[in-house]
Symmetry: C2
Subunit: 406 residues, 2 copies
Amino acid sequence: MARIVQKFGGTSVADVECIRKAAKKAKAEVDAGNEVAVVVSAMAGVTDQLVEYVGTMSPIYDACEYDGVVSSGEQVTAGLMAMALQDIGVQARSWLGWQLPVRTDDSHSRARIKTIDSSEVDLRLKEGEVAVMPGFQGITENERVTTLGRGGSDTSAVALAGALNADRCDIYTDVDGVYTCDPRIVLKAQKLDRITYEEMLEMASQGAKVLQTRSVEMAMNHGVRLYVRSTFTDSEGTLVCDEDEILENQVVSGIAYSRDEAKITLVQVPDRPGVAAAIFGPLADENVNVDMIVQSTAADGALTDITFTVAKIDYHRAEQMLGDLQKRIGFQSVIADSDVVKVSVIGVGMRSHAGVAQLMFKTLSEKGINLQVISTSEIKVSVLIAEEYAELALRALHTAYGLDAD
Amino acid sequence: MARIVQKFGGTSVADVECIRKAAKKAKAEVDAGNEVAVVVSAMAGVTDQLVEYVGTMSPIYDACEYDGVVSSGEQVTAGLMAMALQDIGVQARSWLGWQLPVRTDDSHSRARIKTIDSSEVDLRLKEGEVAVMPGFQGITENERVTTLGRGGSDTSAVALAGALNADRCDIYTDVDGVYTCDPRIVLKAQKLDRITYEEMLEMASQGAKVLQTRSVEMAMNHGVRLYVRSTFTDSEGTLVCDEDEILENQVVSGIAYSRDEAKITLVQVPDRPGVAAAIFGPLADENVNVDMIVQSTAADGALTDITFTVAKIDYHRAEQMLGDLQKRIGFQSVIADSDVVKVSVIGVGMRSHAGVAQLMFKTLSEKGINLQVISTSEIKVSVLIAEEYAELALRALHTAYGLDAD
């Protein structure tokens, strides 16, 4: 007997028939003698519709009210899922965020879960009842509704799995696992049987959309075994687990890419102490997240160029803020470019293997691709290149690192 | 300065633009120095969609889960309304049923409000903040979501007005008040400036759909002045109030009709004590509401016919139950007819005027309309007639009682 949390994403609960199919996945685990909790997203398209209502109502909206509105989609799916389970003879009830409760901080629209009171659910699971929880939602100490950011239902599922001390958290989605690269671009991409938390974290934060970054981080911190699998097939999925559960690691496990970033270069910035703080401080204050940063050596020792990337949605805001800062800091000009893509090779094997970055640079150079920005971490090398080379770069790297399927 | 609860129905909040217009109605009251609470329905069509999801999922569903699903529509409108108010410079926040809380009994899908804790809202109204509450929803003592039945947002508004000791409860709708008869059928129908609670209660329960019956009953019990008015025009509406606030009463104030009933006749029922209880007891146990009942004199003193009406939605269920009872009670047969309409003339003036029923019977007789069932109360006479005569009967009665507009 195991205790399992199942999470079904938007396409897995797109309509009544899909919810019925998902309910059968839960029933199969119940019939196998397991205790099951189910976390559901909103039906596909519902959250987009709600977000559109809010956007149409007011460009600058109250995040508390936004959360109350957009969290309603998951509430609907949760009730329908409980009914679908009851309809096939499985004891079930829904538990809304405020009913458990799921407590979060008060960062509305991107709140972080603090605690889940699962004591009542724990008892009922033991009695064979399936608990159905809407993902994405929680409440603050002040009893206002919060949401966890897009993709937040993954995090809800992992947090519930942690609170319930579950043996596994199954993330049901419309793909059948985590791939070495996006199979829509790299036809020879292979599904991974296993991947470490660290790698998955980098994959997610570097652009792979299969899991919300925060959910992987939380799974890693709480030791929740994550299993990414398809709602629509019975094929084996991908297990996200500790490094010691994986027998032999590839040097590189996967290649991720993100078109969501834009590049900004400040030309001829005075090269004096405090200048970086003067640039990035105001951006941070306005919640503009800066990712890659490079500063070129000042040839004459007085002026330097600083290049960095921001999320595309923050791009115009950042450009405007920098225009305002130009006089005060005294740089010559701002060059902005949103036609860029970030490509990252990821693998825990890098820790013990040299030459991984070198192979990346060589491969891209052979294809005539110019590297605009480079950044590295212990298990990742990322480069920013012109967007038009994205597919070419991904396929070349996939082959170079020996990831191609036979 | 007055304290006003405004309620906006589904067509008044049909989309973002409608919500914006409704918000302006609230702002107008705030600008006039009044304290305002707003109760909203789901956007037009949303509740129907949710009910359809539930019906498709399972013909026999868990009413607790049903309530969780269908109550979500009002939650969306409440958030959007709060944003719309903020957008035009009015301080506002939404209060979900569980946040106040609105406590109800546990009759899921047709719950009755027991208490509303409005202490916090009361304070904030005094500070100039508008409270926005989703109608139709509440929670039980066990913290499960309940709904109040279709049209329940009217009742939510009246209950909130009672709890807040409001001076008036304005029901904004897509018609501009209460009419002497349905103006789509009787072109000479007139809008009433005032109507008594008792009359409005009869009008609502006899088929006029402008207000939920329960809301009128609650307004009467708590002395809440109800004002029915149009969201789309600025014309004067209809005030529902105590009899002593109305200077001169018509003998008949209005004529209502309902196509929602069906007639059932049990033929040759043994005429012995306890037989009525044996028939209507089981129906009541199954929540089948019986309205009009007539029993014809038993000619031979041994067998009688019993005719009664039930709601059309309960019609097949009732017919089946009676089939099962046939042997035990020993009647000869069941004749059921759903092509009927109930027409009611209503007026508190009846108490002191004789001949009201007589005029009704005479008028219908002159038009060759046969009366199938008659029932009366202190301020109402209802007759059941063949559905095909509905329009003819309404127009003839409207003229006969002197209600036609010039």
